[in-house]
Symmetry: C2
């Protein structure tokens, strides 16, 4: 058994290193690689993915796990080793249910489907994408049934992204959330300020050099260690972990969106802190990861919104910020704070404000659940999409590119993924509320963000995936997931900004 | 046999992709990686190196090569496939002679030896390094005897770096070269200009931003395609091939050495053009490489020296160059040309000028040959070193760091490597002389460098290692290696600069 445990640790380490190499290749592709290097890069990534897949499903690993999970052996394992064995066992069991012919068929369809989505979006024609989405959806539902015919396919999908969460719970949570959000949005829409507000920032000149100064300063404030991380630029900002001491984020300097580099940095650096903070005991193991996409997202959104878009933050930060940008000479702090917290329903999810963002997600969740359950046909998706946008936000997309073709996730079979964005938002509000109760957040206005980082490190980050998300949230806040904290937070903040009585 | 050929191509491709991944990791380490990422990076590189070693010496590959090299099969192979089989066969044969216990012992010693060299250099004390150099030397000589006890160990070493070259030839070539160089150097030293010359550039201000403009412009002029290459910065400039369409160079902006970024870019871009120009038919094969270090070096030095430090080059380039740097307002072209071509014996090889550089190399060659033959004891190396510097260049190192400890190569067992720098210099002069004869070089003063690149592509680059260096040189110039072209070139250029009659 000692031999098997050693071997398991070795395989886990190899998988960890291979994953880090793949991340390195992705990073370089998005930030630096010369254009024509793409084909070779794809070949290298395919080679690494094949190696990882073979290693994670090898007969050797199966035998090792089988031996270690025998009751007599299992009971002698340390707590962490038990969790490692459990996680591998679950993964192997799941993968073993899917015949390789299905995997092959699916990956071929996905390639074509992604290309069709791209063409459809460019031409703003859903009909080009329709037959592929039908196939992808059918294959994913089939896959879910192969994995476990007894449970709802959507719950099978959720297991990959938000382990422990059920669609039945999401329906209830999102139901209350939707109601609350629509109420807040409607209250805001009635105000004079909403009707008169204009996006003045768009027309101001924020030189890139000064934005870079802010980006660097912000990550330092947040506690992202410079000798363990890197900041670079890419078209779409992202975070990637090359190794436990080598976590990388990107940002982008976009014309006409001067705050984009600031908010995207707060967001990605939030992800990066999580990745940098796993307990070193988990190093090289399958547990050195977040337990769910939602919890990971909570760590980016808490910094992006609750911390870095708050009045407390700008009270201490604005004098320094203002010094970097001549264009803000005549803009006072309160004015600036209101400009960066404007609410405005729009078609594009990734440009959504704090109020409307979750409505974008709820719409996607409701639609994909209906698709999976067969209540909605793919051909009727654009109509259903537009109807919900009208109903929840009062706007109607002018074409499919702004509508049902907006995100590429469905083309790759990512059903059950969108809800994690909203769940993360709810976790972030719960964690922030708890920090307020414990007196942690009062440090923000003093310019001291270390206590926030320390609290998150202690209550969330260090655990990796040794616990399920709901257990981490329960321990940290004493409560189960609820939209209440988020809705209260929004009311307090935005009713003040818009003068809602 | 068809199956074996397919398999060989597959293995070659896998080796190619793995090598490219390792290059990617090295590149990132030298240009970008956060400081604390080092340990993880070392683990990843060790993993890749192990994979490559196992693949290159696997029983499967041995069997494939054995089958394909049987006369009946071999004769049916294409010309390129024959060469691929030959090259693998030679490599396998060589590696099979060295027992793995020797490899292990050597790699352990090298690690310690490299660390000892570093400490010794810092403390300027050769005695710290001495016992390790003794061991490394003994093991390398033993290895050479294991590989082939019948031939001179130095020729075994040369086979790795400059296939087809023998130490007996180098002795003759370097003998004539040394005599010629010392004569030229002494003639220059006697001139009034040499005695009065000062390094005025050192005191001028060359802003980095403008140096960057020049670096970009220069690589474009040389024909380094922007969609197949990258320029970045690192402490020591280098070139790395990530893939056939992804070749990367670095430069450095050094204070007090304003020309460093220019000359190092010309040098590295010269290497890069070679790597970018291999015949696409050789893609993924073991032949997509230069046949020797010397020939690769010739391609960097021809651009760095013969092209980009020539009077013809500056005749067309100086007006544009001058525009970038205010400090050159009162410096005319001829003046500038003389300043960037100053001759001055110094201790540091990598700062050597065109005349003294090869003397640095010849000293190392003579010393390492004596060490290998046992004519010189390691303990006597510093004395022998200093004696040669005094004799050939008229200067004496003040300490071991400036002397025998200067380069790290010996600490890693790189005997037989240094000569390739001087051999490359001689090849570059031969190739340039041939281009002059064919009327190619007259394009330089017109600002058109494409014909130079095209000629090198056609005569050298495209072949990869389908031929030995001497055959490529013979075909391109009609002659065998000789120091004459280089010495004539130096006399013509430097006697003009220094007014030697």
């Amino acid at each position: 058994m000692k031999k098997e445990l050693e071997r398991l640790k070795q395989i886990d380490k190899e998988l960890y290193l291979l994953k880090g190499m793949a991340s390195m290749l992705y990073w370089d592709r998005a930030t630096l690689m010369p254009k024509k290097g793409l084909n070779f890069r794809a070949e290298k990534l395919a080679m690494l993915n094949k190696q990882m897949h073979e290693k994670a499903t090898s007969n050797e690993l199966k035998k090792v796990i089988k031996t270690l999970s025998k009751p007599n052996n299992y009971k002698k394992l340390s707590k962490i080793d038990k969790l490692v064995v459990d996680k591998h066992q679950k993964k192997i069991k799941k993968l073993s249910k899917i015949p390789s012919i299905h995997v092959e068929k699916f990956s071929k369809i996905v390639m074509k489907s992604a290309a069709a989505w791209e063409e459809a979006k460019e031409k703003k024609k859903f009909s080009i994408f329709k037959p592929y989405l039908e196939k992808v959806l059918a294959l994913k539902v089939k896959e879910a049934k192969l994995i476990n015919p007894k449970i709802h396919p959507y719950n099978v999908f959720l297991d990959d992204f938000e382990e422990g969460m059920k669609y039945e719970d999401i329906k209830i949570i999102f139901g209350a959330l939707k109601e609350g959000l629509i109420e807040i949005l409607n209250n805001i829409k009635k105000t004079k300020k909403y009707k008169q507000q204009k996006d003045l920032l768009k027309k101001m000149d924020f030189p890139e050099k000064s934005q870079e100064v802010i980006v660097k300063d912000l990550t330092k404030l947040m506690g992202m260690e410079a000798d363990r991380s890197i900041i670079s630029t890419s078209v779409h900002p992202f975070t990637l972990t090359v190794a436990a001491d080598d976590v990388r984020i990107t940002t982008a300097y976009r014309e006409g969106q001067p705050m984009f580099s600031f908010t995207s940095t707060a967001h990605e650096a939030g992800h990066a802190l999580y990745e940098l903070d796993f307990d070193p005991k988990l190093r090289y193991t399958i547990l050195a990861d977040a337990p769910s996409y939602g919890l990971h997202e909570s760590q980016s959104r808490i910094w992006e919104n609750q911390v870095c878009r708050s009045l407390d933050f700008w009270k201490f930060y604005y004098p320094f910020y203002k010094k970097q940008f001549k264009c803000l000479k005549n803009t006072d702090m309160r004015n600036f704070y209101e400009l960066i917290n404007q609410v405005r329903p729009s078609f594009i999810r990734i440009e959504g404000d704090e109020i409307t963002y979750c409505l974008h997600i709820i719409i996607r969740f409701e639609l994909e659940l209906d698709l999976v359950e067969g209540k909605l046909k793919v051909k009727d998706l654009p109509k259903a999409w537009n109807k919900k946008y009208k109903e929840y936000m009062g706007i109607t997309p002018r074409n499919d590119a702004e509508g049902a073709l907006q995100d590429m996730h469905w083309s790759e079979g990512y059903f059950g993924y969108f809800p994690t964005y909203a769940l993360g938002t709810l976790y972030s509000a719960m964690l922030f509320t708890q920090m307020e109760k414990e007196g942690i957040t009062k440090n923000i206005r003093k310019g001291n963000l270390a206590p926030i980082h320390d609290w998150l490190h202690k209550k969330v980050h260090r655990y990796g995936s040794t616990m399920l998300t709901k257990d981490i949230i329960k321990r940290a806040t004493g409560r189960l997931i609820t939209p209440e904290d988020f809705l209260s937070y929004l009311k307090e903040k935005y009713y003040d900004i818009y003068g809602v009585k």
